[in-house]
């Protein structure tokens, strides 16, 4: 659940103090509401977590096998703004005492445990927030490692001393180091699996749900069902006996790998949570793959197993996420480069046309006005000069056109493509057939430019590499989709298309990506090459 930050009221003009007071009250109400809402939600979650923790405490034992509330509070302290921390800590106190006392814990023990529990959450959250920016704790290696070291290991480690001491000194239990160990592991495990789940799902789940493709959501659902089924199978139905191969306990591992690689930490953590819960619940009922007669030992083995599996997988998931981000930012950079290049080309083309081109014409016109008698040497000179100026004009125009085709802006994509075909037909021995659909209306500027550059690149490839004698360029519009094809009868090629097209193909793909277009290159040795591009166009 996300709560927005309150807006501060803008000061209205003096003389409307009543208005000001009303707005101030509204803002205060909003702020108060925000605090109350946060407090209630976290307190309720903490209470529920405590009840769950007690449910996971074996009969007669003092320490739970998995202790959620500290992790819940730590997650809340990571997500909430600093100024709300005191609200949360205050709200959690009654929830804690209520849940503990109702479970039969003496008041003194409960108070001591409050210090330990809250201490763990505050210590962990404070360290993490000091060292890492809260907006990206779990999407990079550094953040995840900081969380693991301080939030999941150091904080429970330190506060376990407090909690174990509380139990022994209030006479609620005995065996300091045994208490210390079991409390440590139950908290470390809870922190590892609960905190990333809560933090990531609070910030990303709504966006992910909205933006992901249905196939991806289906994949997530299948994974979830798989995790549930396998955990129940491995931990719930297999009875501990010497005949059962203990390695079967690793059966969930492929599914966890799937979760890490395909869904990152946001998919791995809930999976780990489910497995932890199911395995521990069953272990307490005497089921599961661990064969020791002591429940404590079985649970400890399970906790150690889960922790040692969780940590490397979490790091793997984070590395994958970082890699995806790097790929994405590389693509972003190449997009920006392409954009900057086009801007620069356009600027130069425009200046060539406007400044140099126009001025040359003016010079030409000026020369035309010289009163010269025909057939004199002077007339010959002037004619010569006029010819030279015309040549310069022409070169400047060609240069400008090569950088950025003005037809594209003034006459549309169809005219510009026809012009390209004419140029190729004129300058090379290729026979060019140009089929441009006249019903294509005016297209958005970036789309036109993108398709133009692709035709340019494709034709260049045909001229340079294919050895073809004929090329057909076709541009059509079919039900909201623009289809561009450049097909030649040249040598074709086998193997990776990128080898031949080289940077050209990558550039084309990158240009098409923001336009949600696709490009395919179909080629067989000896039967020519076809470049096919499809881009959606919003119907006007």
């Amino acid at each position: 659940m996300q709560f927005g930050h309150a807006h501060s009221p803008s000061l209205p003009s003096p003389g409307s103090s009543i208005q000001f007071r009303i707005e101030l009250k509204e803002t205060l109400n909003r702020l108060a509401f925000q605090k109350i809402a946060w407090g209630l939600v976290v307190a309720a979650a903490y209470y529920a977590g405590t009840k769950l923790g007690f449910a996971l405490t074996p009969e007669g034992h003092r320490i739970a096998t998995l202790w959620p509330p500290n992790a819940i509070l730590l997650a809340a302290l990571l997500v909430a703004p600093y100024r709300l921390w005191w609200v949360l800590l205050l709200a959690v106190l009654p929830a804690h005492l209520l849940a503990q006392v109702r479970a039969g814990v003496p008041m003194a023990t409960a108070c001591g445990w409050f210090v330990g529990n809250v201490g763990e959450a505050v210590l962990g959250a404070a360290c993490v927030r000091r060292l890492v920016r809260t907006s990206n704790i779990f999407d990079n290696i550094r953040g995840v490692v900081v969380f693991m070291v301080f939030g999941a290991i150091a904080a429970p480690l330190v506060t376990s001393f407090v909690d174990a001491f509380t139990v022994v000194s209030t006479g609620w239990g005995q065996g300091y180091w045994m208490l210390w160990t079991s409390r440590l592991f139950s908290n470390v495990l809870a922190e590892l699996v609960l905190v990333p789940t809560i933090v990531i799902w609070c910030s990303n789940a709504p966006v992910w749900m909205r933006n992901s493709a249905p196939t991806r959501r289906l994949e997530g659902a299948v994974l979830a069902v798989g995790i549930l089924a396998v955990s129940t199978l491995v931990f719930g139905t297999l009875h501990a006996s010497p005949n059962v191969v203990p390695a079967l306990v690793y059966l969930p591992l492929p599914l966890l790998l799937w979760a890490s690689l395909r869904f990152g930490l946001g998919g791995l953590s809930p999976s780990l949570l489910v497995i932890a819960f199911i395995s521990i619940w069953n272990a307490m009922a005497g089921r599961g793959p661990f064969t020791s007669p002591s429940l404590e030992n079985n649970v400890l083995s399970l906790q150690v197993l889960l922790c040692t599996v969780a940590i490397p997988l979490m790091l793997l998931a984070t590395v994958m996420a970082e890699r995806h981000r790097t790929e994405e930012s590389l693509r972003e950079v190449s997009r920006k480069l392409i954009y900057a290049q086009e801007q620069e080309r356009e600027r130069i083309a425009r200046e060539l046309h406007d400044d140099i081109g126009q001025q040359l014409v003016l010079v030409e016109l000026g020369l035309n006005q010289f009163p010269i008698e025909a057939d004199t040497p002077l007339a010959a000179h002037v004619t010569d000069l006029r010819k030279q100026i015309a040549e310069i004009s022409h070169s400047a125009r060609d240069l400008s056109h090569g950088l950025h085709p003005s037809q594209l802006d003034h006459l549309g994509l169809g005219a510009a493509v026809r012009r390209l075909c004419d140029e190729v037909a004129h300058n090379t021995p290729l026979a060019v057939e140009c089929n441009v659909d006249n019903t294509i209306g005016s297209l958005p500027r970036d789309l036109s430019l993108c398709l133009y550059r692709i035709v340019q690149e494709a034709l260049q490839n045909v001229v340079k590499h294919s050895g073809a004698s004929e090329v057909i360029v076709s541009l059509k519009q079919n039900s909201g989709l623009i289809v561009l094809q450049v097909a030649d009868n040249g040598a074709g090629f086998a193997g990776q298309e990128s080898q031949v097209a080289g940077l050209g193909l990558m550039g084309m793909r990158e240009r098409l990506r923001p336009l949600k277009g696709e490009i395919r290159i179909i080629s067989q040795p000896g039967s020519g090459t076809k470049v096919e591009v499809k881009v959606p166009v919003l119907a006007i």
Binding site: Q358, Q359, L362, L365, H394, H410, H426
Partner: protein
Amino acid sequence: MTTEQGVVLADDHRAMLTEVRTLLQTRFNVLAAVENGLLAVEAVAKFKPELAVLDVAMPQMSGITAAHEIRRLGLPTKIVFLTIQADPEYIQAAQDLGAGYVSKSRMHSDLLLAIDETLAGRAFVSPLLMEPLR
């Protein structure tokens, strides 16, 4: 005094605009001289001249688009394009619009002739100066 026919000029290059104006104002009444296609459409809609002489490459709105817009508004103004562009696609576009097409470097020799022809309802295209040097 004979009533001169009104003309609206459009060119984004100021020196060129002055040059055209100087050429035409002896025979025509220059009602407006603007620097982009958008202003050209506005001026034509406002003054309703017999003729508009438009550059093609202009900011905000090109001459071609402005001509389409003028036609769309149903104005009877005749149009002559005066431009550096010499490509066949432009000439085709001009002919599709029923407009004349004059190359700027042949302005002095061709423009007045083009205007006369266009006002008389005949198409005129400036003979291209020379074949592309390749």
